[in-house]
């Protein structure tokens, strides 16, 4: 029994150590003074602040970072607002077209972006939105995941609560804003987090719709970073590290919501 416990601890520490090795390696290379040692095992001084300073002083990294923040916060907030409204209505209100809308939203969960990018690009081109922020933002603004998540959560709001508010003479919009939204808050935080993380890592769509460097978010910027810094490995790694910081901070702050978002669909009975 005792030996089993120790064996298990050794296996776990080894496995988690292996999972952290590339992250540690990233820290080492991102802190290197130059490209002479790329093994990423032993710190060769700690030049991370200078490297970050250099990237923020002369390169395009601040532009990419700004663009990513605009994209992720902007579409994240819009997704939360629209998904909250639709998810709540689909769960709790009776209106014409409710079933059709639910079928439409759930149906899109089965589609792959590889099928849609071509016609969506043509639509965006028709709208004159190529190389614009709205072109990058609007097509990914609302997620079926979000609508579905809020709907499932809103099904748990007791009918009596809404009925009581109606008897008190509250209008439907007031009930949504004052009664439903506060109850939906945990789901909305989870949704914002999931949306932010997915958008932060979205390479394909901005790559297709934005070919002006001024508009690039971090993933597209990183894809071209090697040529930007003259095939300089340690600075590329520093840029990758900077890219990983905001998701990491959000995850630490909202750990519970992160797990809730990941497991949604896997655990519900």
């Amino acid at each position: 029994m005792r030996a089993g416990t120790i064996l298990r601890a050794v296996w776990l520490i080894a496995a988690v150590g292996f999972m952290l090795l590339p992250v540690y390696s990233m820290l080492v290379v991102a802190s290197a003074p130059d490209d002479t040692d790329l093994r990423g095992l032993v710190f060769n001084g700690f030049h991370l602040p200078e490297n970050i300073g250099q990237l923020f002083g002369e390169g395009n990294l601040p532009t990419y970072l700004r663009n990513s923040l605009i994209l992720c916060v902007g579409t994240g907030v819009l997704d939360v607002i629209f998904s909250a409204a639709a998810g709540y209505a689909m769960a709790q209100l009776s209106f014409p077209g409710r079933r059709a809308l639910f079928a439409l939203v759930v149906g899109t969960l089965a589609l792959t972006p590889m099928v849609l990018v071509i016609p969506v690009f043509l639509i965006v081109k028709e709208l004159g939105w190529v190389n614009t922020f709205q072109g990058m933002m609007v097509p990914g603004m609302i997620s079926a995941f979000g609508v579905f998540l809020v709907r499932q959560f809103a099904l748990g709001i007791p009918q009596e609560l809404l009925l009581a508010a109606r008897i008190d003479g509250a209008g439907e919009f007031r009930i949504f804003a004052r009664v439903a939204v506060p109850l939906l808050k945990p789901a909305l935080i989870t949704l914002f987090l999931v949306h932010f993380l997915a958008q932060w890592d979205n390479l394909l769509w901005p790559l297709i719709v934005a070919n002006e460097q001024e508009l690039w978010p971090l993933p597209v910027g990183l894809a071209n970073f090697q040529s930007e810094v003259g095939f300089n490995y340690h600075l590329t790694t520093t840029a990758a590290l900077v890219t990983a910081v905001p998701p990491f901070v959000l995850m630490v702050a909202l750990q519970r919501h992160y797990v809730a978002g990941l497991t949604f669909g896997g655990l519900k009975r």
Partner: protein, 287 residues
């Protein structure tokens, strides 16, 4: 019971979402179906060509190569990821201070953006990088991971397994922690060993979570674009040209949009069939 104010509010609250899904999902989907039967090339107007794109695919070595690589890539990323994640998640889901700390650490690779991860692994796979250093420790000669057509696909697979493992460990751990404790107590009283408990109790109870993980990982691998784009650009000599990459390359740099749309339809059909098979297979045990 439908009341008039409720119906009005319901329509008003869902209208933006309804319009959005029609304009950016339903119409594009129908347009993609239509384009797949045309020779649309960005310039000019689409001309109906019937099944020509679909016939062309099965004579196109580029497509056949990509389809095969996608199969290899999907099987070889999904199976090891789930097996390894289970081997870590089962002991990790047990209570205890060490486990709680390790669970927090596992989240670090899970939230690393794939774009950043890919750049880090480009350096890990470089001539003087971590991969060759570790091989050197056990006396194996350095390899050119990303520029050898034999190794490049395996270099991608290792990175993706590493990247998805963190995510799946978290999901499986949450699933394991939600299992009823009494069953395990009963099993322990009956003298059930660790392996029996795992195969007879844990696996069947965990079926829903496993199905979820399997479905999302297969779907994720079948439509993976970023690793091939960032690590190898589909090369060397098309060795890592997975189908999503081939579709993108045909649609955008080469502007063969009709042909790319047809390949997208085939990918979509394959994904739907594979998902249905997984549901059928794992649902089978549900009485």
């Amino acid at each position: 019971m439908r009341t008039r104010p409720q119906a009005a509010a319901g329509v008003a609250l869902t209208l933006p979402v309804a319009v959005f899904f029609v304009v950016f999902w339903l119409v594009p989907f129908l347009a993609a179906v239509y384009l797949s039967f045309t020779d649309y090339e960005m310039a000019g107007t689409p001309r109906w060509v019937g099944l020509a794109n679909y016939e062309r695919m099965f004579a196109d070595p580029g497509f056949l190569n990509s389809a095969w690589i996608t199969v290899v890539y999907t099987v070889c990323t999904v199976v090891p990821t789930i097996v390894l994640a289970l081997l870590v998640a089962v002991p990790l889901s047990k209570p205890g201070r060490l486990n709680r700390r390790l669970r927090a650490l596992v989240m670090i690779p899970a939230v690393m953006p794939l774009a950043a991860t890919s750049m880090v692994w480009v350096i890990i796979y470089s001539d003087r990088g971590l991969a060759n250093t570790l091989l050197g420790l056990v006396g194996i000669d350095p390899q050119s991971w990303l520029t050898s057509s034999d190794l490049a696909i395996w270099a991608l697979v290792v990175m993706v397994v590493w990247k998805s493992m963190g995510l799946f460990v978290i999901i499986l751990t949450a699933g394991l922690q939600a299992l009823p404790g009494e069953v395990y107590e009963a099993a322990a009283i009956d003298g059930s060993g660790a392996v029996t408990t795992f195969t007879r109790i844990t696996l069947p109870l965990l079926r829903r979570t496993l199905l979820f993980v399997l479905v999302i990982s297969v779907a994720g691998s079948m439509q993976a674009f970023v690793p091939a784009f960032l690590l190898t650009g589909g090369g060397p000599a098309d060795a890592t040209q997975v189908l999503p990459y081939y579709i993108w390359a045909n649609a955008f740099p080469y502007e063969h949009m009709g042909y790319a749309a047809a390949m997208g339809m085939v990918l979509l059909a394959a994904m739907v069939i594979v998902s249905a098979l997984q549901f059928g297979f794992l649902k089978g045990g549900d009485e």
